[in-house]
């Protein structure tokens, strides 16, 4: 070991990232070399100075000031767009506010050079729906009936997805697809995955992967968000004027949304926010209200319609029972993992080890052991039936994908009474016990 080699590794030494052999060599050299010994001491002082400086900076006011400016500047941009529309109308000589809305369509027809921009249409639509008390959306979606609410699958048939939402008071809501229901009654949010697995959290506006649909129901916020996003990205919003068979004029705005994932990313095109999509909004040109929304999945081989709002009811009255969710008698509740007496042993396990241990426990039908990896009060009968007595064929190398905070572990198993199954087990450890738990992919 010479001085040059030693100096190259001094940072590694003080950072304690060197392997034991190299660390000993450098420590031995420093002991015998005054120059390197001085360098090591000065490096430690410099490091301490950097650490002190790093911790002393960044006043909290910077974050608040920056966010404040961003939100104000965005609001200004939207206001400017709305002003452009109003000024055109005022400039045309129209005086009464009520008359303004009624002549909008006529004005646009009479003055072809002043066609509204797509952004102005979105801004007006946001304003038109900003005072709603409630909304009901009936939609069709290509999705697995029992999977997450945002799951998309271009190869599936359409299923019905519905939302009921109140904007006043507790802002209760209900979202339903064939095998999954989520309800927020003002005090808590409960999701039931049929037949009998349930999860409960506090009051929320978009838990359990429902945020995209919840946001869609807040039509004005959705449109404003779309507008902000388009402004931020500099997107080209396309506006098309259409006239329906009954003479109703419709304004259609199309927006491209890119997930930013590569085509070979596992999670690409499996959920709405991990997909490249085209959202086509249709607004009633007279009321500016949203009439229809279609979402197409953009993929190699052509675009596929994966979602459509088939009915929108503005300000409907709801029966109070809409926001209650009856549980089956044999309900099994999701439970956050407890810290076990031997938690350290499980906390040290890698995703691959957890997947192996989970499936081995299923193979033995050791359901108490399975519960150390499965976050529930009991193992559902459906899991016991499918996975009990299975044979493990292989467990693969874990990988991460998209924005998912956990790991996917490829597996191949042979359940007792079914054919070979190949899939990816999702595991994550962002829980109080800090150990990997199964999160999906069974």
């Amino acid at each position: 070991m010479n001085c040059e080699q030693c100096r190259e590794h001094l940072a590694g030494l003080v950072e304690e990232v060197l392997d034991e052999g190299l660390r000993r060599q450098i420590a031995a050299h420093i002991e015998c070399c005054d120059s390197c010994s001085r360098d090591a001491a000065e490096l430690k002082q410099l490091r301490a100075r950097l650490q002190t400086n790093g911790k002393s900076l960044a006043p909290a006011s910077l974050e608040a000031a920056v966010m404040d400016r961003i939100l104000h500047e965005q609001a200004d941009q939207i206001r400017r767009l709305k002003m452009i529309t109003r000024n055109r109308l005022i400039g045309s000589g129209v005086l009464a506010a009520a008359a303004v809305v009624l002549v909008v369509v006529g004005l646009w027809a009479a003055l072809p050079d002043t066609r509204a921009t797509a952004a102005e249409v979105l801004a007006q639509a946001a304003e038109a729906t900003s005072k709603l008390k409630s909304v009901h959306l009936e939609c069709t979606m290509r999705t697995r009936p029992s999977d997450n609410f945002s799951n998309v699958d271009a190869d599936r048939e359409f299923v019905t997805v519905e939302l009921w939402k109140e904007f006043a008071g507790s802002r209760r809501w209900r979202i339903e697809k064939p095998r999954r229901i989520a309800v927020m009654d003002g005090e808590s949010t409960v999701m039931l995955i049929k037949p009998n697995y349930a999860v409960k959290v506090g009051p929320s506006w978009g838990s359990f992967d429902t945020r995209w649909l919840y946001n869609m129901a807040a039509v004005d916020e959705m449109i404003t968000r779309e507008l902000r996003s388009a402004l931020a990205k500099g997107s080209d919003l396309k506006l098309i004027h259409e006239t329906d068979d009954d003479g109703t004029r419709t304004l259609v705005v199309a927006v491209e949304n890119r997930a930013g994932l590569s085509d070979d990313d596992y999670i690409k095109n499996k959920f709405l926010d991990t997909s490249d999509t085209r959202w086509t909004y249709s607004f009633d040109a007279k009321t500016h209200r949203l009439k229809d929304l279609k979402i197409h999945l953009e993929q190699e081989g052509g675009n596929v319609l994966i979602f459509e709002i088939t009915q929108i009811d503005y300000d409907p009255q709801f029966d109070p029972s809409m926001f209650t969710l009856d549980m089956p008698e044999n309900v099994i509740w999701h439970r956050e993992p407890e810290i076990l007496p031997d938690n350290e042993k499980y906390a040290r396990m890698t995703p691959e080890q957890v997947a192996k241990a989970f499936f081995e426990a299923c193979a033995r039908e050791d359901w108490d052991e399975v519960l150390k990896f499965y976050p529930a009060s009991a193992v559902p009968e459906s899991i016991k039936k499918v996975l009990g007595g299975l044979k493990i064929i292989s467990i693969g190398q874990p990988f991460q994908s998209g924005g998912y905070g956990g790991w996917f572990v490829p597996y191949e198993i042979k359940p007792k009474s079914r054919g070979i199954r190949k899939h990816n087990l999702a595991v994550r450890k962002d829980n109080p016990a800090k150990r990997y738990m199964v999160d999906g992919g069974i």
């Binding site: 190259e8 590694g12 950072e15 990232v17 900076l57 910077l62 966010m67 924005g403």
Partner: protein, 174 residues
């Protein structure tokens, strides 16, 4: 919560400005240090940092490598710093009287150290900023930059050597 820079950027571009907070919290110390070094004033650095982040937000659509937010916003901060210098030169030319002494900086900042960091070559500066001003371990830095830990520590070693030299020269000049 945004786990990665890419998550946060995508979230902002999908109309969720609040996601930008995560990027702010991660990188504000690093950008402040860099600007303190460039502008030699902690007060001006704070103002310039604010401007840099706001510009970064509205230009997010232009960020091609979504996981490389820090070097990109440092580039914006450099441009903001240059504009500050030009503005200060114009102000110095316009002022006939000696300006009153500026008030003490609100945040404690080691200006000579910040200057030395700001003068490091880009690759070394990025590693120092990530390690000491973004709270990342060597392992985190290696994952963020997608290089081995050994590369990170070697770059740190070289950065330390350059910083020591720069700080000694500053002391001699002072």
């Amino acid at each position: 919560m945004c786990k990665t820079d890419t998550d946060c950027v995508e979230s902002c571009l999908n109309g969720h400005p609040e996601a930008f907070r995560h990027l702010l919290r991660r990188y504000q110390s690093a950008v402040l240090t860099h600007l303190t070094g460039r502008l030699r004033s902690a007060d001006q650095a704070e103002e310039a940092a604010q401007e840099s982040f706001v510009r970064a937000y509205f230009a997010l659509g232009k960020l091609r490598k979504r996981g490389s937010f820090l070097p990109w916003v440092i580039g914006i901060a450099d441009r903001v710093a240059k504009e500050h210098w030009r503005q200060q030169r114009r102000q110095r030319q316009a002022v006939r009287q000696i300006a009153p002494a500026s008030s003490e900086p609100r945040c404690s900042a080691d200006v000579p150290l910040a200057q030395a960091v700001a003068q490091l070559p880009d690759a070394y500066r990025q590693v120092v900023l990530l390690r000491y001003y973004c709270g990342l371990s060597c392992g985190d830095v290696s994952r963020q930059l997608d290089v081995p830990v050994g590369t990170v520590t070697k770059q740190l070693s070289r950065a330390y050597a350059m910083l020591r030299e720069a700080l000694s020269e500053q002391e001699v000049r002072a």
